[in-house]
Symmetry: C2
Subunit: 332 residues, 2 copies
Amino acid sequence: MTTPQNPSGEDSLIARYFKPLATDPGAFGLVDDAAILSASGDDIVVTTDAVIEGVHYLASDPPDTIARKALRVNLSDLAAKGAVPAGFVLTLALRSKEDAWLQPFADALGEDARTFACPLLGGDTVSTPGPQMISITAFGRVPQGRMVGRTGARPGDRILVTGTIGDAALGLDVLTGGEVAKALASDPVARDYLVSRYRVPQPRNLLAQAVRDLASAAMDVSDGLAGDLTKLCAASGVSATVNVAGVPLSAAAAGLVARNAVCVETLLAGGDDYEVLCTVPPALSDALIAAGQAAGLAVTAIGTILAGRERPRFLDGQGQELALKQLSYSHF
Amino acid sequence: MTTPQNPSGEDSLIARYFKPLATDPGAFGLVDDAAILSASGDDIVVTTDAVIEGVHYLASDPPDTIARKALRVNLSDLAAKGAVPAGFVLTLALRSKEDAWLQPFADALGEDARTFACPLLGGDTVSTPGPQMISITAFGRVPQGRMVGRTGARPGDRILVTGTIGDAALGLDVLTGGEVAKALASDPVARDYLVSRYRVPQPRNLLAQAVRDLASAAMDVSDGLAGDLTKLCAASGVSATVNVAGVPLSAAAAGLVARNAVCVETLLAGGDDYEVLCTVPPALSDALIAAGQAAGLAVTAIGTILAGRERPRFLDGQGQELALKQLSYSHF
C-alpha cells in the first residue's frame, strides 16, 4: 500500500480510507510494500480468515458490519489461542471504488482496530469482477511456547463455552426469510438480536489471558459447536460427552426451541458463533468461570472430556444421545 | 485449517492437498486455527498480495503457474525488503473442489515452498460463486531495524534494477492475442519466453542479503517501472533521472522495440515484472552488481537519484524526456 506523489486510483483509495488506520510504527504509514512486526521475545500467533459476499455475509449487509465481521472472526481466533492482538493485514477485493461503501467500511474497521488494539499493518487492494472478498491475516503475541492449541485436552477436563450458541445461524435464517423469520414475525427485538449476532461477532479477547493461564485446549466456535468440538477432540485424541440441556442459549434461541420452532440440533451445528470453546482441568474450571464473570461474560460448563477416540456424544436430559445429521457447516 | 476424525469436504481438501506443505513446526500440521512464527530476535517482515482469476492471471493459465505466481509475487516483496523467507499463510477462494486443478496447484506450491524455504503455516479455504482468488500473506526475517524501506533514497544514489523490464506485459499481450501476439506469430520461442515471464515471476531472493547490506531504498517492480520508481522517489522525497536506453530488455523485448512493434513506454509502464528496483550509494553500486553476478543475475544501473520533488524523468538517447501517458497499472 502506497501513497505516491501522483496517486493512482488504488493509491488514493488507500491514502484516503486506510492510512488513518495504520497507526502502528511498523506499518510505515502504508508507504511501503511490507510491514514490520516486532516480536519482542514473544511468539507471534498468526491466523487468517476470509469473508466473501454471499457466503459469509449478505450483499445487503451494511458495510460497517461487514468490516467488523471480517476483523472480528480473526480476533476470535486470537482470543481462543490466548493471544493479545498485535495487528492485521487486509486484502480487499472490490468490484468498484464506491465511496458510499468504503467510508463506513473503513470507519468501522478503524473503530474496531482501536477497540481491540489491533492496528492495520498493510494490505492489498485489488479489483474483482465477482463477489467482494475481505481476507484478513491477524497477528497476536503470546509468551514463548504458550499458545493454547487444540491438542492438550485430557480425560476428565471440563468443557466450557463462552456466551450463547446458535444465535448467528438463527440470525442468518431471519435475514434470508426462513422458518425463524416466520416464527419471529411479531418479535422485532428477538429478530434484531439474532441478526446482530450473525452480522457482528463478539470476539472474547477479554478472556484471552484466562484461557492462556487455565485452558488445556481451546478453539473458537466458527463452524458449529458439534463439529468444532469433534475437531478439538480428534486433535487431542480424546472423546467427550456434552449435556445438551446445559448448552447456553440466548432467550431468543431458547424461546424458539421451547415453541418447537427450531430444534436444538440446528443450534449445535449452526455456524458463526465466534465463542471460545475450551477444555480446562476440573480444579481450574471455576477460575475460568470467575474470570468470565469479571469480564461480564458468561462461561458455561457443558460437558466432560473422556478417554477414547469416539466422536463426542451429545446427550439430552434423559441421557439419550442426539442423532446429529450435520455436525457443522462446510464450504464444499 | 484442520484435519478432524470425520472430515468435511473442506477439511479433507486441506488434509489431502495442503498438509504436506506444512513442514514448519509452527504450522502444527494445520491441525489448529493458528500458527506460531518464532521471531528469534529478528524483525518479522509481513507482506500480502492477492491474485484474482481474470485480473492477475487468466482462467486458462495452468494451475501450477497460478500457484507459483501467487507465492512468488509475495517472495518478490520479501527479496526487495532484504528479508529471508520464513513462511506464508494462504487464503484460497474456490468455486468448486476440483482435484484436477487442486493437485497440480498444491504440488507446485509445495515445490516453490521448498525451493524458497518458505513453508505453509496455515490458511483458510472458502467457496466463492465468483472468480477464484488466492491471497497470500508471507513472512520474512531481517535483523532488527534492517528492513530496506522506500524512504532512504538520497541524491546521488544510483538506481539499479535486476533482470529485464517489460517482458510480462508483453507475455500478457501474447496470451490475449494483442499486437505482440501478431508481431511474434512466427517466433514461438519468443512467445513462450514472454508468456513464462507473465505466468511465473522469478523473485530475486538470492539477492536479498546484498540488497539489505547495500541499498538505501528498494521495492519490487510489480505495477510498472515508471510508476514504481515514482512511488519510491515520492516516499524518499527525491527526484530521479533514468536513461531509458540503459533499461535492461530481454532479447525478445528488444527485438520488438527495434521493429517498432512496441514502444519502450509500454515496457516502462507494464506490470508484473517482479524485479528488484533499488537505490545504492555510488560507492556501493559495483558491489551490488557483483553480488548479482555471483547469483547469476543481471543487475543494471539505469539512472540517478536527484534532489527535488519533481516526478522522475525518463530520458532517451538524445537526452529528450519521454512523455509517459501512463506510469503504471492501477486497478481502479
